[in-house]
Each structure stands twice: as C-alpha cells, then as structure tokens.
C-alpha cells in the first residue's frame, strides 16, 4: 500500500504548462517546432516576429494561452485581403497551433480526437453563420455553443454521479440487511 499523500488535491495537480518528460511535452515541442518552421518557411518579417514570439510564449505559458495569443497575432495575416499566400501562411501557423493545443494535458487519444472534431464542428458552424449573418453572430455562436454543451455536460455528470452513489448506497444497505 502506497504512502498516502497529505497534500491538497489541487497542489498535486500540476498546471499543464509545466514541462515533463512525457507524451504531452513531446507533442507540445513538436507544435512549437512546427510554428518555428512555418515562420521560417513564410519568411516575412511579420511571420518571423510572430513565430519567434509564439515559440517563446509556448515555452513559458500554457499551450492554450499560446494558442489564444497566436490567433490574435495572426489577425494581420488576413486583415486587409484574403489571398492564397495569406491563407497558406494562416494554415501553416494553424497546424502548429493545433498541435500545440493537443499538447495541453491530459494528452490522450480521446481528448485529442474530441478536440479536433469539436474544434472543426464549431468552426464549421461558425463559418456557416459567418457567411449568412456576420462575424459578430459567428463569434456569439461559438460562445453560446460552448456554454450550452458545458451546461448539458454539467447536468449529465451531476445526475449520473448522484445515481451511481445512490445505487451503491442501496446495494450496500441490501448486503448489510442480508448479513443481519
């Protein structure tokens, strides 16, 4: 039997931005390398500046923070006109940022799959609304979908754990009665 830890749970759960020798750090490192390579490949001053900044930020901050900042930093790439070159640049950086996001712990196949599919679904829904209504509605849709699905998950988890605990209580009281 292992020695019990006496620390609080939250102290035991290290924030995801800590580097460790594990799969998550490898994925994260790959994402940063991808971003650095994309910046070098595009070769413009802007891309080099953005790439360098994201790599530095990615080393010291949580991947999800780096992804958020990265998307804000990528706005100038398609700010004035949408060209093939700008879309390629954006796509290259997006690949790196997505890889970096998958490096956020817990890095499991299930979470990775759900992240990619969820992000794709949300982006697709936002794209549809963007073309029909506008950018404000698209942004609002993403936030609303996040809130609605989270609320559903919250309720589902609450009910299911309550049912599990109630079922275990009933089973234990039944076995106790049998013993008596």
């Amino acid at each position: 039997m292992s020695e019990p830890s006496r620390e609080a749970v939250f102290e035991l759960l290290t924030p995801s931005h800590k580097w460790q020798v594990d799969g998550a750090s490898v994925v994260r490192l790959l994402g940063l390398c991808w971003i650095g390579a994309a910046a070098w490949y595009i070769g413009s001053d802007l891309s080099l500046a953005v790439g360098a900044g994201l790599v530095v930020l990615g080393v010291i901050a949580r991947p999800v923070t780096t992804v958020a900042v990265g998307h804000a930093a990528l706005i100038p790439f398609v700010a004035e006109s949408v060209t093939t070159a700008s879309l390629v640049s954006l796509g290259l950086f997006e690949g790196g940022l997505l890889l970096l996001l998958l490096g956020e712990r817990p890095t499991t196949p299930v979470v990775a799959l759900l992240t990619v599919s969820g992000a794709a679904a949300l982006a697709a829904a936002a794209g549809v609304v963007l073309t029909v209504v506008g950018v404000t509605a698209a942004g609002a849709l993403v936030v609303l979908l996040l809130a609605a699905i989270s609320a559903l998950l919250y309720r589902y988890e609450q009910l299911s754990v309550d049912r599990i605990v109630a079922a275990r209580r009933a089973a234990e009281s039944n076995s106790q009665e049998r013993i008596q």
Partner: protein
Amino acid sequence: MDLTRQTWRTAAVTIALAGIAPLTGSVVPIMGAAAVAGWLLAVQVAAVRSLRSTAAVATVRVEFDATRTAVGNPVAATVAVERPEQAAGTALTVTYPTPAVAEPIPEADRRVTLTPSETVGSTTFSLRSSVPGRLRLPEPTWRLVDASGSVTESYSHGPTPAIDVIETAGRARQTVGATPESPPFGEGANGKMRKAVGSDRLRPYEATDPATKIDWNTTARLGEPYVRETASQRGQPTSLIVDHRAKLLAGPTDAPMFESVRSVALGVVATAADRGDPLALVTVGDEGPMSAVEPTTHPAGYDEIRRRLQELEPTPIDQAAGIEIDHPEPPGGRDFGSSNHAVGRLLEAFGTESAATNSRGERWPLVDGVQCQRSTTSGSTVIITDDTGRAELWAAVRTALSNAASVVVYLTPRVRFDAEHTARTVRAADRYQEFERFRRRLDGIDAVVAREVTPTVDGWAEQPDVLGDLTLQAGATGGEITEETNRQPIPTATAAASNGGSNE
C-alpha cells in the same frame, strides 16, 4: 460538478477571442475561439467519464483496532481507499469528518489523497470520545478532480462504522457532601475521579486488618485509618438493574435515551469484570422483570451479561401501550435463566404472580425488579433508569436499601432528550432544575449515590449546552458541578435565555 478557476480562465479566453473578432472584422479569432472551445469541451467530456468511473468503483474501508473502547481512551481508525487502475484517472481525496462527540482530529490525519494513477492509499487516526455511547463516524466526503484539473466533483458516501464507547469512571455531576460511609463512586468534592461501580466500601481500620488494605487517601483526609473493601473482598454481589421500558425510546430515533442507559450498564459490567466483582443482572421492561443473570465472577458470565445488554431493546411502544395496568398480561418471551436457580425461580414468581403497585394501583415494574434481586442478593444495587417515574424510583431505592448495603442510581434526565432541550426553552430549564433537585434528594439518602447520565447521542453534543447554563445557576445556590471537557463554553443563563428567542 464544479468548474475550476483554470477552466473559467480558459472559457474567458474563448469569449475574449470571440469578442475580438467583431472588433477587428477578422475570422481568425473565431477560429481560435473554436479551437479553444473544442479543447475545453473535450476535456469536460473526458472528465465526466473519469469522474463517473471513479465514483462507481472506488471504495473506502474503515477498521478500528478494537471493538470497543473506554471513555477518554483512544482507538485507532484506519481508512483505506482503493480503486482499480482503469478508474485511476482522477485525483481523489476522501476525508472523514470528526464525529461530533469526538475530540478534534487534524484534517490531514483524516484525509486520504490519491493522485492520478495511484490506486491505493490509507491513513490512520486516533478517535477519542469523552461521551459514552456509540461513536459513529459520519459519511466521508469525496472530492474528485479530473486529470487536467478542470472539473471537480464532491459527494458524501461510504461506510459509517461505529464503536462502543463505554463508561468506566464516573463523570456525572456528582455527590456533594458524601460521607466516608457512603460508597465512594464517581467524582467527589475534591475533584478526583473514582471508580464507578457501586461496590467499594470504606470502614474504619481494625487491628486484624493487614496494613496493605489501608486506604491512605481516606486515612489522610479523615485523620484516622480507613480500609477500602471491594465487593469481591466482601463476597457480596452487585445487582445491576437495567430499565428498558418503552419510555426510554425518547430522543433521536438513531440514539434514543436507552442507548445512554445501555452504555452506562456496559461500563458497569466492564468495571466489575476488570475487578472480578460478583455481578448479577435484572432487566426491567414494561411488563416487569424480563430477564436475569445470576451473580457471576466468571468471564463467561460477564460476557453473558454483556451479550444480554447488547441485545436488549426497549419495549416497543405499541406493546407497552397495550398493557392493562389492573390486569397485566401474562409475561411472555422472558428469560430468567436457569429455572432451578434461586434467582430464576424468584424472578419467575415475581413476573407471573405479583406486581408492585402504587396507591392508585398503578404497576411499578422497577420495584418488581428490585424486589427480585433483593430476595437473592445482599450486596450493592445499581439502578439505571430515567427520571420520569420518580415515585416509582423512590420506592425502588427504598426497597433496595432494605437489603442492599448501598445503592447507586444512574439517572437519565428525560428533558435532555426532548425537543424542548434543543429549543432552549425556559420550560426545559425548569424541568432540568426539577431533575437536579430530585437527583440531589436521592443522593441525600444515606448509602445512596445518584448520578446523572449525560446523553450519548451522536451529534447531540453539537447542541449548545443550555442546560449546562442552568446547572451553573444551580451551582450559584450552593450546588457543585463538574463541567465536561467536551462541552462548549457556557454563557450565563440569562444570556442563553435571551438568545433563545422562543422562550416561554
């Protein structure tokens, strides 16, 4: 399920990105918001899965290192938490709350924490109670955190094992002005704790007594040599008369007044067994004496008495209500032990042929019980009951004294088990003062010691001790009390009454 601060921060990032999009007119922040939101949802889905699996299969076990303990003595409780590897994706903390009647235990000692991937863990802590009765551990609190630290879940579930805490020494508010001839039970005016069972006696030293029998404390106090004799030395048995009538069902359903009675009775048995004192048992139900154990000094005999006490239940209220006072039903289901023994024969005779009654013809089962034991034993008598039938108890004590060398009465004040007590009413205060006056009157009889049995209810000690206030008030008029260490600081009676709100 609760979201952690980290999750709220991530959600805020998503909202910020979605908010930047209209300001810049760019679609790129929306892509970022979608990516972060997708990750957040994925993490929540994974968290729900892991929390459910942990809640379904993780188990907690509690073991005590003893089956019972004495008041004030520690008992070690070992808490072990276990889960299979497939449910080890969460961090979990299982914390047992400190029972209300137990002494405080540091939370770190009561907590078992498993990090993600850990499957077993345990902790051991000491429980110590200064209140006799069943010391039950409350349900443990579980706190689960998913592997990413995004979501937490808390619930209460788990075994609530109990251990018997038995009384071994007098703790009640106790005799004032006991004489050397009185049985020196419980706590005297000098504040020292003495033995609880009513079987010691002091007498002046005689020339033929060995010097080793001299009780030096008493000798020093009284200025002349005294000898302490236990019941076993005198060869006189102690008769334990335990009331288990329906009226003792008063109080919380999970720990009625009878549990206090049982606890004290078990304590008496434990002390008698430790000292090898001869002990007999008579239990008194609504129909009169219900069972008896002959005087014994054999370990198996003590175990038998213990077993009877542990299995003893108060008379069900419906049966008690159905008894005709003038024409009692023939006793059924009684256990008087061996019918060829004097005690068994006498009890059977009392149970079937006669019944002590008062002047109005009401039956007094307690007096029946005392008469039964009085006919067969001549040592000390210990009566454990409540204070509702005062005339009956008075008669029972007088009856016991006609033969017994000494009588110890353990009285459970009914008022402390009534709702009025928790409501902190003035009426409850009055009733307690009445009880205290009655106890003192009993205690004032030569060779009688009357002691209060405090409630042993789990959680009862959480109630503000308004009655303690009133005892203090009584103390101001000359009474002497002993405060128990686990009680809350007591305000003045006036303050307690004014805070009560619903006082009559």
